[in-house]
Amino acid sequence: STIVLVFEAPPNFQFDLQENQQVLMGQGIGRI
């Protein structure tokens, strides 16, 4: 299964992720 997030944010929002990175629920994945 998959979850797709689509959201609006200020231009200085940045993901702190890598492609194919494993994440856990509750882990921070983006900051402004």
Binding site: S1, T2, I3, V4, L5, V6, F7, E8, A9, P10, P11, F13, F15, L17, Q18, E19, N20, Q21, Q22, V23, L24, M25, G26, Q27, G28, I29, G30, R31, I32
Partner: protein, 393 residues
């Protein structure tokens, strides 16, 4: 020689019969599909996918929804107590399940694989990063993330994109009205618990704004949250639309939680296929996320629009939302479902006629949560709060 001759005859008969059965199966499925597609066309919903090679073409012709329902029913059969431990351990070894994290470590308490599949885990194993702007809603692998393109394109893989309005639907796309939700948060208190990175248990409580009787230390936080939720800042022209796609493998924890503080105002249930969403198919099947059964939950957060869309797959066709008991995916509407829910009679009467109709493929069923709260026009969801989960079949 005669027994050999008999064996050869039997073998050729067996081969011929099975090949013809498969062939007629595929052809009849074709006819049903064409019939469905004609119906879908009537509802002016286009279904387009680029199937590519013939193995994918044959795969796309398989009755995946029925197979998924059968898979769910098989896995809902209760196992004998003595068999539960070994079979769930075997599943855990196969798919890399971390048994240490389970809220209830006793494997015999899970009656069947379906229950084991959506097992809860210890909250302290998933601390919520309150300092981040966005948290992950679930366990999994991040396949794609980035900025939605000017023309609304989301990159599925290099060279394959799909449109955000095709994924989430638009106001004017054809939809069928689903029963309205029967709850009003003004009269109820809503609490969400989570553990932050320091291991402290946090409880967010939502009560009527201005009600000074909030009692939890983080109350001041809830007041500021509800003020921001109502959109004190809200949409700005300079904002951008971002996206992230997270794939849950079979061994992952399959409940999903709210990634931020936001308000869900609308739900769109797209009835569709149940192709596998494994990375291979994400790389090869175009428009996979537009074709598959999915539930788009739309709303807003402090920076404007916010949405979260769980997408079903062959083995996990059912998507459940804790706050939306009327949602039933990968199922044919049975009028018993409605009567069981004991909606008020007039409402049930009104929908009964509509119920007899089977769920239509490629159709969007929309329900609004607007009456959940007059202040917020939707359901407040708190970061880390469990929103629902995927179920087998």
């Amino acid at each position: 020689f005669s027994s050999r001759l008999k064996r050869v005859k039997f073998r050729s008969w067996f081969t011929l019969t099975s090949v013809s059965l498969i062939f007629f199966g595929v052809v009849s499925r074709n006819f049903i599909e064409d019939d469905d597609t004609r119906e879908a066309k009537e509802s002016q919903v286009k279904r387009s996918h680029n199937i590519g090679s013939w193995p994918l073409y044959i795969y796309s012709r398989l009755p995946l929804n029925s197979l998924s329902r059968l898979w769910g029913q098989l896995n809902s059969i209760d196992l004998p107590v003595w068999l539960r431990g070994p079979s769930f351990k075997f599943y855990s070894v196969l798919f890399g399940v971390n048994l240490e994290e389970m809220a209830d470590p006793d494997l015999t308490h899970y009656k069947n694989l379906a229950e084991f599949f959506c097992r809860p885990i210890k909250p302290e194993k998933r601390p919520v990063d309150t300092s981040a702007t966005l948290c992950s809603p679930c366990d999994g692998k991040v396949l794609k993330f980035g900025v939605v393109e000017e023309d609304g394109g989301i990159e599925q893989v290099k060279g394959i994109t799909y449109k955000v309005d095709a994924l989430l639907g638009t106001h004017d796309a054809p939809k069928v009205e689903a029963p309205p939700q029967q709850f009003d948060l003004e009269r109820t208190e809503k609490e969400a618990h989570f553990i932050d990175l320091h291991g402290d248990i946090k409880t967010l409580t939502y009560k009527k704004e201005g009600d000074q009787s909030f009692v939890h230390p983080s109350t001041s936080r809830i007041l500021s949250v509800s003020r921001t939720l109502v959109g004190a800042e809200g949409h700005k022209e300079s904002n951008k639309l971002f996206y992230a796609v997270i794939y849950l493998a079979p061994g992952d924890y399959h409940r999903f939680h709210s990634p931020v503080e936001w308000v869900a105002t609308l739900r769109r249930h797209f009835v569709g296929q149940l192709y596998s969403v494994a990375p291979y198919f994400q790389r090869t099947l175009q428009n996979l996320f537009i074709l598959n059964e999915r539930v788009a939950i739309l709303g807003y957060w402090k920076y404007g629009f916010f949405s979260m869309t769980p997408v079903g797959a062959t083995n996990v066709g059912s998507i459940k939302l804790n706050f939306d008991t009327h949602l039933a995916t990968n199922e044919v509407y049975e009028h018993e479902i409605y009567s069981k829910d004991k909606l008020n009679e007039a409402l049930t009467e009104k929908y009964k006629v509509q119920e007899r109709k089977k769920l239509k493929r490629d159709t969007c069923y929309e329900a609004t949560y607007a009456n959940a709260s007059k202040v917020l026009h939707g359901i407040p969801l708190f970061r880390g709060e469990e929103m629902g989960g995927f179920k087998l079949g």
